[in-house]
């Protein structure tokens, strides 16, 4: 039993790192524009299918699909931005309807092109198991974890040290003050959507290498990312990372101890508990004041 728990803890941590990438994409565009991109899960899914395309057509490692995946998610992400940007009234609310609709369109486009079959990687390398003491993982999961960490470190550096990244944080923090620094908020918003596209492309390819994908996965990914964002409470990368790992572990434990039918439910319960008892999120209490 103990070994089973260790194993689900480990697997949960690995999958949680991908949730973190998805959540950071949503958090980034939310920070810059105060809108929630409900089609972000479909962007991730689109990237996962690009990995499938590359693997099934060329036999290469799915990670070779990242440039193609980024080209596709980047373009779709920018199109979403341009559509949202045209909303003149009640942008926060209307963007929800708009991005929800884009998500449905993308899901059906994927269904049309790739059919409803379940897809997963056939790479012998990625499916190979490695052991760490008493726990096991696929090499695909370990690779996804490492790449997710690297991308998060890159994102952290970009937000902290590049002028564009600083501008994104400034706009997220105080839009009017950011304008007074000479920042053009619309360019910053566009940059945020492009970077969200990069995050989605890596997350999608990683997801494909460690799990199975099917066309209806999008909304579930968006919801998980949303739960993680609310759990974290603040837009800080370590906060989102910890919350994502927590969700991953909780889900894995639920599958082990109860039933895989409850996997989605437990995330929602976690979400409600946090909203009831810590409305500022697990890491948000200190910085949100006044």
């Amino acid at each position: 039993m103990l070994e089973l728990l260790q194993q689900s803890l480990f697997s949960g941590l690995l999958v949680g790192s991908v949730y973190a990438l998805v959540a950071l994409g949503i958090a980034l565009t939310f920070g810059a524009m105060k809108i929630i991109n409900l089609a972000h899960g479909e962007l991730v899914l689109l990237a996962a299918y690009m990995a499938y395309v590359i693997e099934s057509r060329t036999g290469w490692n799915p990670y070779a699909a990242i440039p193609l995946a980024f080209a596709v998610t980047g373009i779709v992400s920018v199109v979403i931005y341009l559509l949202i940007e045209r909303i003149r009234e009640h942008r926060e609310l209307n963007s929800l309807i708009l991005t929800f609709a884009i998500g449905i369109i993308l899901t059906n486009a994927i269904l049309l092109v790739f059919a409803s079959d379940v897809r997963s990687t056939g790479s012998p390398f990625l499916q190979d198991a490695v052991s760490f003491g008493s726990v096991y993982a696929m090499k695909g999961e370990i690779t996804a974890f490492i790449i997710s960490l690297a991308v998060m470190a890159g994102l952290w550096w970009w937000l902290k040290h590049s002028w564009y990244g600083r501008a994104v944080r400034a706009v997220s923090s105080n839009r009017d003050a950011a304008k007074l620094m000479g920042i053009d908020p619309r360019r910053v918003e566009l940059a945020a959507f492009i970077v969200a596209g990069i995050l989605a492309s890596v997350a999608g390819v990683a997801l494909y290498t460690m799990s199975v994908v099917q066309p209806a996965l999008g909304p579930g990914l968006t919801i998980k990312a949303f739960i993680v964002t609310v759990l974290a409470g603040v837009g800080s990368i370590p906060g989102v990372f910890c919350a994502a790992l927590l969700l991953g572990v909780t889900e894995a434990m639920t599958v082990t101890l109860a039933s895989s039918a409850l996997q989605e439910l437990v995330g929602m319960v976690l979400f409600l508990l946090v909203l009831f008892f810590m409305p500022n999120g697990l890491f948000g209490a200190r910085t949100r004041r006044g």
């Binding site: 003050a177 007074l180 620094m181």
Partner: protein
Amino acid sequence: MLEVRQLRAGYGAINVLWDVSLGFPQGELTAIVGPNGAGKTTLFRALMGLIPHQGEIRLDGRALKAKTWDLLEAGLVMVPEGRMVFKDMSVEENLSLGAYPRRCRNARARNLERVYDLFPRLRERHRQLAGSLSGGEAQMVAMGRGMMSEPRILLIDEPSLGLAPVIVKEVFSIIRRLKSEGVTIALIEQNTHIALSVADHVHLMRSGKLLMSQKADKVDLERLHDLYLARETGAASF
């Protein structure tokens, strides 16, 4: 010299400024005083391109572009009312954002040192979140951030707001110092006395109009106060 002619601006259907014309002479400090709701902040917001306006705004005889980021490249910088610091960022990150305009990015490290020399308190607290600072320290961050943008013309809106008198003194000694360095300054202040202590020119604003414009050393204090408090019949607009 920054010049404003027949400026009208407001918020949506509500007009606030009614044909305001004034100049901000090079290297001098121009104070704009007046009661709450006079339109002082609206004037600054229009100057910085934060709200649309009608009328002319010229810098050295040339019409200025309308976008805020173009104005920053031209050297117009504003220290806003209520500080508007980036609360969830550190003091140093706040100051660094002041160096965002392209013309001052390369000088960031040098300007940072200069700001820290002027405000030693900020150097001590450079890693602290700006949201956890006292009002006086936040005002120093806002002013330091403005200096990081290497202003040719610095617009300072109500720097004394909500500060203890001893801090206000400190803030104004910095304003004096900036002036002595040749920065053209436009200052909004409700406290007439402290405004007059640093100003070269004083304008009184009420109900979106300039009611009085004088040299600070020749100002008719009694008339200024009467107009400020709308005790003169001519000034009562409603």
